[in-house]
Symmetry: D2
Subunit: 316 residues, 4 copies
């Protein structure tokens, strides 16, 4: 259990926690990755970090969970750093209009994924991050980058989850081989998937995750470390992608109810960004039918309503 930190925001966080407590356990814990199915469905954590570095948190906010697809934000940031705007020759920027692991769109568009936040697109991003290196090197680089973003060298990968992903990742194997058949991956399929499965197995707690996303709230600069991670233009653009594509086929719904750029993972985590204000991480394992944390989404909707942080207009 986290201790309270300071002020009004802390009260809001605690109120959200208290209100949602009776509903913990709702939704469906991801079971297609066996390791994820073992998680206690009643876990709930939330952490908010503002641009002054104040931390507000509640619940199981110090317990690490598998961030899964939230990692796609960090690997996209890495890929953009290496390849700049040419990244978009390899992956689109449009919402997919279909499920996170759909292959239909790929066939209709010659193997080019619609955006970097669906599985196919994230696999292409892993290929871009590799840039000629071995899987081991690329995985190391990703881990170090996330450690750097969160300013926390203890962050690592859960090897049991990584193995579990690889053993059961037939849908991702299908996506990768399909793109390879269109010449859309430059490295061997098993290398790219090795990287992808490991990035998904990153284990972080809510505080670490909120810290890692803080540069997106800070116009590209992490105010805790003073590091400029990306330009302010790039920060805005990553936020835009999170808002339009960050929740698979529930992205419109999340924008409607929450109004913040966000990226979810099937581990139940969501990273949300309030530009110019704060970075937020929530965790609750039960998922809604689009594969996004059910209680986590509600927590963010309540937070946005109470703080007036929606990017779409003031409170009231």
């Amino acid at each position: 259990m986290c201790a309270a930190v300071t002020g009004d925001l802390q009260a809001i966080i605690e109120d959200i926690h208290r209100t949602l407590k009776p509903r913990l356990g709702e939704g469906k814990v991801a079971d297609y990755i066996p390791e994820l199915a073992k998680v206690d469905p009643e876990k709930f954590g939330i952490a908010v970090i503002d641009l002054e570095g104040n931390v507000f948190k509640a619940g199981d906010c110090d317990e690490a969970f598998s961030i899964q697809s939230v990692s796609k934000v960090f690997t996209l940031t890495l890929a953009l750093g290496k390849h700049g705007e040419t990244t978009w020759n390899r992956v689109g920027r449009e919402p997919s209009g279909s499920a996170f692991n759909s292959i239909v769109q790929l066939e209709h568009e010659n193997g080019k994924p619609r955006n970097p936040f669906i599985n196919a697109g994230a696999i292409v991003v892993s290929d871009l991050v590799m840039a000629g290196h071995t899987p081991r090197e690329a995985i190391g680089e990703i881990v170090r980058f996330v450690q750097y973003l969160a300013d926390d060298a203890t962050i690592g990968i859960d090897p049991a989850v990584a193995r579990s992903e690889a053993a059961t990742g037939h849908r991702n194997e299908a996506l990768a081989h399909f793109m390879k058949s269109f010449g859309k991956l430059t490295h061997p399929v098993d290398h790219v998937l090795g990287v992808y499965f490991h990035q998904c197995a990153l284990a972080m707690n809510c505080v670490q995750l909120a810290r890692a996303g803080l540069f997106l709230a800070g116009n590209g600069r992490n105010p805790l470390t003073g590091h400029t991670v990306v330009s302010s233009q790039r920060a805005r653009r990553i936020n835009a992608l999170m808002l339009t594509c960050g929740h698979y086929d529930g992205s419109g719904d999340f924008a409607y109810h929450v109004g913040l750029p966000g990226k979810s993972g099937v581990g139940g985590g969501i990273l949300a960004v309030a530009p110019g204000r704060a970075s937020v991480a929530v965790w609750s394992p039960g998922l809604n039918r689009n594969g996004n944390s059910l209680i986590g989404s509600l927590a963010l909707e309540m937070l946005a309503a109470k703080t007036g942080w929606s990017v779409f207009g003031g409170p009231g």
Copy 2:
């Protein structure tokens, strides 16, 4: 030609106009509605109205054009006023991942359109707006609502455009009959399309359009008239829909480059909203491959960059 009004913003507007002037005529004027094909492709207008009511404008900003699908924002607002959140039982809130007039998605989802800003969804919204009234009554109500929003009783429908739409609207006829076959329209198909074709034929200039959209920048309240059109929550939600779905299969791209909620029409108009700041209307008839104004999108990208109005983070 518009006379300058005041200050820095006016300089920005004029700079944008000057910079884009050599490119006017780029893109492809919509030709599937014969009346639209007659428009001079080198027209360009822009108007910005801030929450204090200051108007900044340039180019052909006082010349009326066919707002086409921009009208979908106003009919959605009307429908939400009549039906509230039950509106969403009839139409979804997710980006479509396909062209503005696609019928494929409808077949896969039993005739329920993905969102109110693709044609199928807007036709359902017209059906909702009718609410048992005749087409003539519904059209009258829509015109009066837009006049009220813009505080300008001179706004009306271009009858030649409405006739032209009806005579060539086979794709929309197909969408409407298809939904009717799934029981998704309550009024006769020709009545609903009569309303839809007329709303698309609304003729407005940039200043009128920016005024009509000002309530979305003002948390639901039009500061010029003092009228509260919708609640601040509803204003945020309409803005969210515009951002995720407002530019058909180019919505992600518009969010990436501009970072403002917006809605385009094939007449070359775009209404964009800077929440808490201003309402913007641009007009340039040439379209990009997604059916959105090519030069109009560039103008908004420049405006957002120079003003720092992107909802996704500050300037720089």
Copy 3:
């Protein structure tokens, strides 16, 4: 009730009738056309006419029913007579892999239907049959052609069914407008659909229907009248189309179980052709999930098994 005519084949027919009697009423009577929903679900008729003109029949074989899509065989024959192989510039010859009224394929293939036996394709064939004439003239020509094929001037259209089709044909309206939007229909949509709805409303009994199809068993020549309707090559080709496309998305299943070219209608009728041997018509209103007569298909499977008429090999 029909009286027995002659020999072994008559015994086979009667045996089939007796065997299936307990199952009459199975399947689902088409209800999307209100007039069809009124038919007694326990009706069953069968008629076989061999190339010597012998008639074998059982059940309600002299009662007229709505032949619906079986008419597509006759209008295709007419269209081929008028336009020859250029017909195939307007409609394909491949199985559709989807439901009889699917619109998805049309969008993916720019409005060109896959074959003349799905609704979209048959609507194009109606457009081809019109060839510049009025709907009234085209309908008259179709009726006279079917009368000529069956050598029976009493065959006509059921006006109540035609009206019922028109009043509820939103899916066909959608298909037609959709193709019109691609420029695939030369006549006005309502004219083409007028022809289409009337051809579907042709009322025939099993004996008439078997007679009308006899030219396809006789290498293009109707042995009863001595008329050569089409060349032997064209008869083979129409038979090939019936076999690959005649039962919508159940065509493969029908070929597997029956092994004869055939065309079904949602009125519960099926016309089947045993090349070089006989023409067969069956009628039973209950449909299987692909929209083909459930009991009618079983009757033909039994007939093919007992006679060894499958085009795919001898009995045993």
Copy 4:
């Protein structure tokens, strides 16, 4: 070069060969499997074997080629022998309405392939043939079965082709992993694909291939060996599947022009069956846009026209 054998049929074969000679080289040799791209595009062979065992042949009819997907007929026969009609719980019997390697249909139908002659379906059939055995055992069984059908123990697999398939088979990997993700394969993906890639690499000449298919012309019995391979019912059913599904998205076209059950392979071979009459194998490497031998299809069209063997009616 083959020597003439006997009578009129030999003259027909030679006439076909002579007529098509100037066109040899038309079409596009498959290049996605590197080994296949090495084949001389001007090769042409044909062999016809009637139920009395007479062999008629011309061209390169004694030169082995890669039979590729023609093998799907033989593995389906094996699977039906092991699993009977329960085979159809795992794979459908309908034409696909899409390309041979399409994955779209799989997603829409929960991983169940439409028929055993598209790649996805054939991979399921390989899984069925394995029935718990190792890949090596299953491959051995397939080879021995084809040797038995053709009564020729010299038939084997081209190992260079098998390796080439495996190295470049990303589309097939995608299909297999995709089905595995739906639980549609019982053996490990790489085992199933090992079997599949080897069966496709079977090397046979036209005479061997025509002999192997003779049981399908003989109501299930190979008249050369006297072996009853399958029941006459099953022979008819396999023929029906070949007619409706044997040429991918060109099956309707093949039925229209040739009128015989047939199965093609991207190596340029086609096996065609004239029930009650003869088995035919042709080989010409250039493919049409549907992936079927262009000249081979023409040769069969000429043969069917000259012999009157179409299953859809007599000659003339």
